[in-house]
């Protein structure tokens, strides 16, 4: 390392602690000369980090959610001169969920930047969350010098290795010249086909070393195929099967939201006169307030949605994957119904159920091509039956005997009339929000479905609000989950991100308590959140407005007060402690075993998992 080169190079990061500078570090020669990151840089030549940031700018990145550290300092340094806005988070998990919220609110990848070792491992939960729900994320992790890889150097971790199972794809960027190609591929892969997170691990010698980017021509990804339109013969076969149905159900999932198939699905439902149900993540693909929409199906879905699925003669999955939360006991699921599956991911076919017909393609394009081939079905009797179920088994809750989460969410739905983006955390409040806050458009309902990640809701709302600043954005979180990521109150406060965070405080890990009450003889174990802070004071400690709802009579006034506030606000609803979510299909039970109201007799332990 000659002195003459250091003047062009950025200041080397100060070692963070002893081990980084111990003599065990191989001499520069052994590390491959310039590979230590301070190789000769010609005047005017840029550094890897600068090229990386430029490529991110070219990809249209507005925000980076991140937290720095030794191995990432060069990249943070390059951000100083960039128009990309950096949001400093308080925990890397928060960064991933913010980026995820941003991504789900827009369809564009959210970008995360963290340091090596623990910074990178703190993103693993966020990667899983995004991977399970097909959200496009670009996670850039600083890495130690390449020469130190595998040497247990300070903050070295095999980050690509740790994350293989939770990414759509990943890169270890070994050569700065590849930066433009890797960034371009990463963005393309993250957001096309079935979207997902892509990780780029950037060794420090690449980021702080001189960089001569290699021109990128056409994308060269021979192993990556993005299905587009469906095969005409499949779509024709689909139309023929539909024509024979008298009791059809359109079962709409996240894929329909992602491909923006909502309007086409609505048109299909209207043309066929077929009822719609949606999954937790499919909320909003089609308007849940439409007369043909029966709401959410599955474990905590509406009774009428589940009854329709139980009795249908044809079920058409549109970007939905027959999750165990949906099917319950598989052997008993839609045994006599014709099952059809439209998906952009062929690996979803035959994974859970064996459909009678599969159509590979983008949901929107497939439905649009299907539309001219179908005509009105004879479904009047079927729709009348669905209407009867809807009347007989409405979603309901008690308005007396203390404040109910459902009441608060019901009013939130009424006051906002769907003109809002709601992000929900995980637990009872999530299910109540899904039931009562009816979603009218895609990308207005954001929650962690596949992973069920507590702590997701609040940071996701920050990301969504940044992405769509003109929208009213509500986070609905539990007292348990909020405490996993509430440190991002600082992020919201500093950047004046005007999210409304509704904390449903039942002083319990409520969803688990419900299971223990129902299936474990109410032997409560590890669910009491004694020791909760005063969430209003907590918000105020961050300089964030705090409001409290104690009684049903306060609901509208406080919600309106929160809506009118210009900055971020936390509204704590102090709800009854021991309410349960119904309807409920015990895990692993057939849909017909749905418990519509609180049971009076003892229930068996569920067979299904979680």
């Amino acid at each position: 390392m000659s002195d003459t080169t250091t003047q062009d190079a950025p200041p080397a990061s100060r070692p963070q602690s002893g081990p980084a500078t111990t003599p065990t570090t191989p001499p520069a020669a052994a590390r491959g000369g310039q590979k230590d990151g301070r190789g000769a840089k010609r005047p005017g030549q840029r550094l890897g980090a600068q090229v990386l940031v430029e490529c991110l700018e070219q990809a249209g990145v507005e925000y980076i959610f991140g937290l720095s550290g030794g191995a990432a300092i060069p990249i943070f340094d390059a951000l100083v001169d960039s128009k990309i806005k950096l949001l400093l988070v308080r925990h890397e998990q928060g960064a991933t969920h913010m980026a995820d919220g941003y991504a789900r609110a827009t369809g564009k990848p959210g970008v995360v930047l963290v340091t090596s070792g623990p910074g990178a491992t703190n993103t693993v939960t966020g990667l899983l969350t995004a991977h399970m729900d097909s959200a496009p994320l670009i996670v850039i992790t600083g890495q130690t010098l390449q020469a130190n890889l595998g040497s247990d150097a300070f903050q070295e971790a095999d980050v690509t290795g740790i994350t293989y199972p939770v990414v759509k794809h990943s890169y270890l960027l070994k050569d700065g010249a590849d930066i433009p190609r890797v960034v371009r591929e990463a963005f393309y892969i993250a957001q096309t086909g079935r979207p997902g997170p892509v990780l780029i691990d950037v060794p420090k010698d690449v980021s702080q070393g001189p960089c001569t980017p290699r021109e990128v021509g056409a994308l060269d990804l021979p192993g990556y195929r993005v299905p587009g339109r469906g095969a005409s013969e499949d779509i024709k076969a689909l139309a023929e099967k539909l024509a024979r149905s008298r009791r059809p159900v359109l079962y709409v999932g996240h894929g329909a939201v992602i491909s923006n198939a909502g309007p086409a699905v609505m048109a299909l439902a209207e043309k066929l006169r077929a009822p719609i149900v949606n999954t937790l993540l499919g909320k909003g693909a089609a308007d849940e307030t439409h007369e043909l929409h029966l709401g959410m199906l599955g474990m905590h879905g509406t009774a009428y949605a589940n009854k329709a699925v139980t009795d249908c003669d044809l079920i058409l999955a549109i970007g939905a994957r027959w999750d165990d939360r949906i099917t319950g006991k598989l052997d008993a699921f839609c045994t006599d119904a014709v099952k059809i599956h439209i998906d952009v991911d062929p690996a979803e076919f035959n994974k859970v159920v064996r459909p009678d017909l599969t159509v590979l393609g983008d949901a929107k394009r497939v439905i649009e091509e299907l539309l001219p081939l179908v005509s009105r079905l004879d479904t009047e009797a079927w729709l009348a039956q669905c209407a009867t179920w809807r009347r007989r088994y409405p979603l309901k809750y008690a308005r007396r005997g203390g404040l109910r989460a459902q009441h608060v969410l019901d009013r939130l739905d009424a006051l906002t009339a769907g003109q809002t983006i709601i992000t929900a955390d995980v637990g009872q409040h999530q299910m109540w929000a899904a039931q009562f806050c009816r979603t009218r458009e895609g990308r207005r309902w954001i929650t962690s479905g596949g992973a069920g990640t507590m702590g997701f809701g609040f940071p996701a709302a920050i990301g969504a609000k940044l992405a769509r600043p003109d929208e009213e954005v509500w986070a609905v979180v539990g007292d348990g989950g909020f405490q996993m990521t509430f440190a991002e109150l600082a992020t919201a406060a500093v950047h004046e991100v005007a999210v409304r965070c509704l904390v449903i405080n039942n002083n319990y890990l409520g969803m688990v308590r419900q299971w223990q009450e129902m299936f474990f003889e109410n032997r409560l174990s590890g669910v009491d959140l004694k020791g909760n802070p005063d969430f209003v004071k907590l918000a105020e400690a961050y300089g964030v407005k705090g409001l409290r709802i104690r009684r049903a009579g306060d609901i509208d006034r406080k919600l309106e007060e929160a809506r009118a506030h210009l900055g971020p606000v936390v509204i704590v609803a102090e709800v009854v402690k021991e309410d349960n979510v119904f309807p409920m299909i015990p895990a692993g039970a057939p849909l017909s075993h749905m418990i519509i109201e609180a049971p009076t007799s003892k229930l068996d332990k569920p067979d299904g998992s979680t």
Binding site: T160, G161, Y164, P165, K168, H169, S170, L172, K174, I189, L221, P222, G223, Y224, D345, P346, A347, F349, N350, K351
Partner: protein, 182 residues
């Protein structure tokens, strides 16, 4: 000791695959990138599938490698595995060859510690299987046999009574016949 008669079912070298139990054979064309082997292996590991043999070699085109994998496990999972492999960005093609008549072959090196009086019997077996003696020592022999995997299985079983000290098999490789792509 007389050489046991080789089983009549034994295929001649180069014969089509006669599948051994629940073994499946998959051929992958992959981009030659670091980490691709781990990504492939994880698809199997996550589903509790056992990889029996795995051969990686350069493909005909630069920048691509060919992987031939034999594995065991339930057939329903296998089709999911093939689809999951096909989804990997670095996997260009994933094909199940379990049922087809691809040409397959394998090499086995077998080291036998043998006294001189056993040699005739061993060499008779070797001759029957067109195996070559590649190392002839006073206390040991190394035989090299080439052929379909199940043929090698039988060959090795016949040698077992003589005391196999070491066994190294290359793992199965295969190629689709005619102008079909592997």
């Amino acid at each position: 000791m007389a050489a046991p008669e080789p089983a009549a079912t034994v295929a001649a070298p180069g014969d089509a695959a006669t599948n051994r139990g629940d073994l499946h054979t998959i051929s992958l064309l992959v981009s030659d990138r670091p980490g691709v082997l781990v990504r492939v292996a994880l698809v199997f590991a996550r589903r509790g599938y056992n990889i029996e043999s795995l051969v990686v070699s350069p493909g005909a085109r630069g920048g691509f490698s060919r992987m031939t994998i034999t594995c065991s496990g339930d057939p329903a999972t296998l089709s999911q595995i093939i689809k999951a492999l096909g989804k990997l960005v670095d996997v260009v093609q994933a094909t199940d060859h379990t049922e087809d008549r691809a040409h397959e072959t394998e090499i086995a090196l077998v080291k036998i510690a043998s006294t001189l009086d056993q040699r005739t019997a061993i060499l008779q077996i070797a001759e029957h299987y067109s195996a070559k003696v590649v190392d002839y020592g006073s206390e040991s022999l190394i035989l090299r046999a080439v052929g379909a995997s199940d043929k090698l299985d039988t060959f090795i079983e016949l040698l077992r009574p003589f005391g196999i000290v070491e066994l190294v098999r290359s793992g199965k490789i295969l190629m689709a016949r005619g102008l079909l792509e592997t």
